[in-house]
Symmetry: C2
Subunit: 340 residues, 2 copies
Amino acid sequence: MALRDERVTLAHGGGGKAMRDLIEEVFTSVFQPDAMEDQARLVSEALCEPGARLAMTTDGFVVDPVEFPGGDIGKIAVCGTVNDLAVGGAKPLWLSAAFIIEEGTEIALLRRIVASMQAEAEKAGVRIVTGDTKVVGRGSADKVFITTSGVGVIPPGRDMAATKVRPGDVAIVNGVLGDHGAAIMAARGDMALSAEIPSDCAGLGHLMQAVLAAAPDARACRDATRGGLASALNEIAEAAGVGIEIEETALPLRPEVKGVCEILGLDPLYLANEGTLVVFVPEDQAEAALAAMKTVPEGAGATVIGKATDGPKGRVTMRTLFGGGRIVDMLVGEQLPRIC
Amino acid sequence: MALRDERVTLAHGGGGKAMRDLIEEVFTSVFQPDAMEDQARLVSEALCEPGARLAMTTDGFVVDPVEFPGGDIGKIAVCGTVNDLAVGGAKPLWLSAAFIIEEGTEIALLRRIVASMQAEAEKAGVRIVTGDTKVVGRGSADKVFITTSGVGVIPPGRDMAATKVRPGDVAIVNGVLGDHGAAIMAARGDMALSAEIPSDCAGLGHLMQAVLAAAPDARACRDATRGGLASALNEIAEAAGVGIEIEETALPLRPEVKGVCEILGLDPLYLANEGTLVVFVPEDQAEAALAAMKTVPEGAGATVIGKATDGPKGRVTMRTLFGGGRIVDMLVGEQLPRIC
């Protein structure tokens, strides 16, 4: 049956015919689940290797606006969950997607979001295997929220954790900082910025596989999303009980992002990223990790930004341009709501 | 660090210190995940038995009001996902929980919801292993939305599916119909109803284990949530290509629910349930299945309501009180938005 409506109505969430039509035409026709049962049924031999572990993660996405240069809420919902699996050393396998949709949302918008999710899932080599849709009245949500959950497999013997970082370990990022935060800020149109800054939103599963092949003893990895690189580094410093020292001159920044930060008095260390991670590797594997990153598109701008030290435990410091040092604390408050 | 705020602010979603405090004090102190990594890391031997399959499901919850007689959004979020796994014959293992919270929501309310989730998870024998919190501005969501995803294991040889129902199979429900729908309607206070109707919200994992032990060839099962029993039966009739005939006199209804339906002109067959399922079993296992259901509290009111027939394919009919027959179609439109 063809979906005749142009916008989502409450009936599309009611559990009846309208809902079935919406789900079949907009969602399952694209995601192509194996069967229309209440749960996906899945098999992976990798999960059953002795010593393998299952990784599970979830993330809700409320980004505003839902479409922005370099991506949309669908792309971010797939990449974010793929990345949360990947940074733990897991190979992402399956995703679920639950949509909370505001009455009145354009069905054409949903179709674009779903297409973008499927494209990103294919790129990452994962399948979206199950889902849900709810509809709430106008004004009870803002267009569409998506929660994705992910399941992956951590191969035998791999056990990355923030607690494992040791003094001397080298910190590497895969690319520029702050693009996502700056992109969303510019896309909100609150500022009359002429430069269009695209989000860095990207799946990092292939990048992580490359890093781990080259640097099998990689200690810990975090994607630098909300709270930016500063918060990710603080989390690691605290968990590992080490100091972390980074070099201001080593931080990769796009000139447009630097400009936005200077104009608005923002610190790019706290700006959100959706395709940037920081990985800590033993010093003797740093060169190999860096070279491996550069072999994949998402790691083209990879660079060493600093190292773990036996300095004050839990403290992140930055050597500035002028040779001084400053403490880089966790984000206090928030820079920009609904960044992801 | 003690959380001093009484209400959620945008900073609680910003990725920094305030978010960490909220997560530690309200969520992880109760759910007790193994480690603070970006993903849960899990092992289950049952998943690796030859022929076993992993079941994965997700559901978003937007119920309004968030607290109602018989439950709250937390209880429903755990039970709903446990049930989506259980009705496929899976043993539920792990849940994730993602919260989208409106700025200004009382932290005391979040604590009650989280306590209720943990209590229900313990009852169901599952663990909430990972989660996420997002905060949106006042007016961009309605208090709190929760998306839970679940992973379970389907043991070797079990393959329930709506397509497997055959003429002659017996349809059994575990208890009364429509309580959840009537409870939410009454709790909204739109009607001056004096009777307090509690929701039937309950986890059905143990019930399903009992049924499957007694009736190992059970064909298919659905929980009768949005769209009610009518929509669940229609889905099965269509998938299996059978007719389904139910008896009006056999439908278990609480007098208060019957009363609400008569006053408002609602059909209890379409009212939502959150602790009621319908299972189809071969005729020679029906008695055993029924007896097994009655051994667990959630099945105390179990009863046979009808059977699959070789009547018109995909059609659900009801023999009425007066001996006539009527077609029971899928729900058209919606009876009550934000029921779950």
